[in-house]
Subunit: 114 residues, 2 copies
């Protein structure tokens, strides 16, 4: 069993994604070889890439306000406490629409993380 | 894409677990057939079953204070914001040691949920 706090987790490589940080909170380095839990923080105006991929996302918003754009191009408003399911292959991205950080945990199957 | 708040999620069957409620926040009913995200709430003194199983848990404490007992029988203190990884086959349970509710999300592969 591993117990940790977020502030003990190093930042992962996210060069090329302006205004986005990522931490792999629970992942292969912890022995978790089926499911990976990441923590993302977006600066005001920051976005994640607009993409689709063959694995799902399970997301919980931790801090702030933003939107998720779904496969039909609709913006879905998000705030702390919201849970989001993005099925495999649906195009999507997340964008910070607030004045402070927008932060969320994002859970993927192992094949979705590097 | 599905967006929901916890208070819209119905309670799942947990008869036989005194002082424990469970909600399946993202699961098969949402189309999530690989990973399931559940939300547990334990009353003061409440515990989850002491058991081991062939799938991992990824846990984040949301509210309150408790302990997780690991495979060596050690109690690991937990508080809101902690992340816990329980590998497959490690015996474990969670117990509320606080005066209020102890609540956590618990993510499992699909085979770990019913």
């Amino acid at each position: 069993m591993i117990v940790k706090q977020l502030n003990a987790v190093p930042y992962a490589e996210t060069s090329g994604y302006a205004g986005v940080t990522k931490r792999i909170v629970i992942g292969p380095a912890d022995g978790s070889d089926e499911i990976v839990l990441r923590y993302f923080s977006l600066e005001p105006g920051g976005t994640t890439p607009h993409h689709a991929h063959g694995f799902p996302h399970l997301v919980k918003v931790e801090v702030g306000e933003g939107v998720a754009t779904d496969g039909a191009g609709r913006e879905r408003p998000l705030r702390a406490g919201d849970y989001i399911f993005v099925p495999a292959d649906e195009r999507h991205f997340f964008r910070n629409t607030g004045a402070g950080p927008f932060e969320f945990i994002c859970i993927v199957p192992r094949r979705g993380e590097g």
